[in-house]
Amino acid sequence: MSLKGLRSVSLFTAAFAIGVFCAGCGGKHARAVNLVGSTSVQPFAEFLAEEYLTAHPTENVEVQGGGSTAGLQAVINGLADIGMCSRSLTEEESPKFTATVIARDGLAIVVNQSNSVTTLTTEQLRGLFSGAIRNWKEVGGHDGPVRPITREEGSGTRESFVHLVMAKERISKSALTQESNGAVKELVKGDSAAIGYMSLGLVGKELKAIRVDDVEASRENVLNHSYKLARPFLFVAQGPLRPDAQRFMDFVLSKEGQQALESEGLVRAQ
């Protein structure tokens, strides 16, 4: 069974378990504040929840993955109080939800450490990922093939990348498709021909982040808006939040919560 399948199964199981739990104790305890959505936001939300629960042991917050779109779906179905979304909402979606930017994240363009290319323009990136540029020589690198690595259809990271870089161009059909930031990292780490994109907070020391339009991919540059490849991390809800969910949201947007996010590699909302 696939991870995603497992995720949705576990989502149903969790919803079922919560239902049984509530029925069992006759509503004496409120159910947990439920966050569902993007796997890019998930580790940060988990970290926030941990911090929050240490400070407020009586509260109850649960975080689950599933993907940005699945998170929105869970909010509509009432399975989640808050949906986590790692991209801007589409025109179709935005009237249905209230979205709060909790942080911003840079989209890093990563290559293997042995790759001599250090800077690329957005246009060159488009060429590399659409298949128009097939040799690293054409962008000032070694003589060898280019292997673009993309994320699966529907991933928030992919949608942000397409929106920010590809414009109307399509990502090449021969691009390798991986289903997580970790899998992209693993591939780029071992393949000198590879180029991929991932969350800036997750790059680490084993990969090389490329300068885009001659701006370094760093948190400072995302914060001062000079690095263009950045996306919002959203907490999405429908209607007013439950009081306990609102308390968690307030914590996330507080100075404390924002500092916690920064310590984990993200860029604060304002």
């Binding site: 991870l3 949705s8 259809e153 498709t177």
Partner: protein, 285 residues
């Protein structure tokens, strides 16, 4: 007597509920998937290589080819090694050694597929990338991983088939002056043929349907692979990769992919069963 009938009836109900589960799954998949196939038409769905859910293009030809190619690759590896193992274990191997080896091979079947995929990613993929070229994620890597995964199925059922050949066949062949190898491939393998075909069918079922390990080592590209070192996408990996996010027509297209997978497995099974049955008939002659 009355009690017997009641129990028989209860058992019948249980049996039917299991079968009706299958029927429900079939109906559900077709109900969700067929409308899109009819809308896109056979040309736009089965024979198009253009898969772009954003642009409402749902062509799965490259995935059909991908699934068939890696299944064929896996069956070549799985059959050569599995049948070889079965022959050695039943005919040429000391009993004591066979008693250790057989359970070990069966243990392979108990390893979760994600572990096979992980081993593939960290060992086979870099090896192929460094020594043969290409991205490493490839037809070859996927075939090797799937080949090892079907090994226990092919081996243990082939062993049972070979063991069920009457001892007198073997003795008769030796008595006529045939060597051990001649007796093996001219008598034993022929007599056990239908069982061996059954072993290959079951292995093939596992190879076509395997998902997790395949996602990790196949590369999931949208092009038809032209060499064994090219990456590919299978029908199963397409469904699993995109299911979590898909809505509307995209979701229907994934169900339509499942319909295709379902039909391919039915065709393979019916074809293989027919061959097996023909084998039994010619044995009886």
């Amino acid at each position: 007597m009355k009690q017997d009938k009641a129990i028989a009836f209860a058992l019948m109900l249980i049996a039917l509920s299991a079968v009706s589960g299958l029927a429900l799954i079939t109906v559900f998949i077709f109900k969700e998937g067929l409308p899109l196939i009819l809308k896109s038409g056979a040309g736009g769905f089965f024979f198009s290589t253009d898969w772009d859910p954003k642009a409402k293009q749902f062509g799965i030809f490259s995935m059909i080819v991908g699934s068939l190619v890696v299944t064929a690759g896996a069956m070549i590896i799985g059959t050569v090694f599995g049948l070889g193992l079965a022959i050695v274990l039943t005919i040429f191997c000391p009993k004591a050694l066979a008693a250790i080896l057989k359970p070990l091979i069966e243990l392979l079947a108990g390893i979760p597929s994600v572990v096979y995929g992980f081993i593939g990613v960290v060992t086979i993929v870099p090896f192929i990338r460094d020594y043969f070229g290409g991205p490493g994620l490839s037809v070859l890597a996927t075939s090797i991983v799937l080949g090892v995964m079907v090994l226990p199925t092919v081996t243990s059922i082939s062993i049972d088939a070979l063991k069920s050949v009457p001892r007198s066949y073997w003795e008769g062949s030796i008595a006529l002056g045939a060597t051990e190898w001649q007796s093996t491939h001219m008598v034993m393998l022929k007599a056990a043929r239908s069982g061996i075909v059954a072993a290959i069918i079951l292995g093939m079922g596992r190879a076509v349907g395997e998902t997790m390990a395949v996602i990790m080592v196949c590369g999931n590209t949208l092009e038809i692979p032209s060499t064994p070192l090219d990456p590919l996408r299978t029908l199963t990996s397409n469904i699993a990769l995109e299911m979590g996010y898909a809505t509307g027509e995209h979701r229907e297209a994934l169900f339509a992919t499942a319909v295709t997978l379902f039909v391919i497995i039915m065709i393979l099974n019916i074809a293989a069963l027919t061959i097996a049955r023909r084998g039994i008939m010619s044995n009886n002659r």
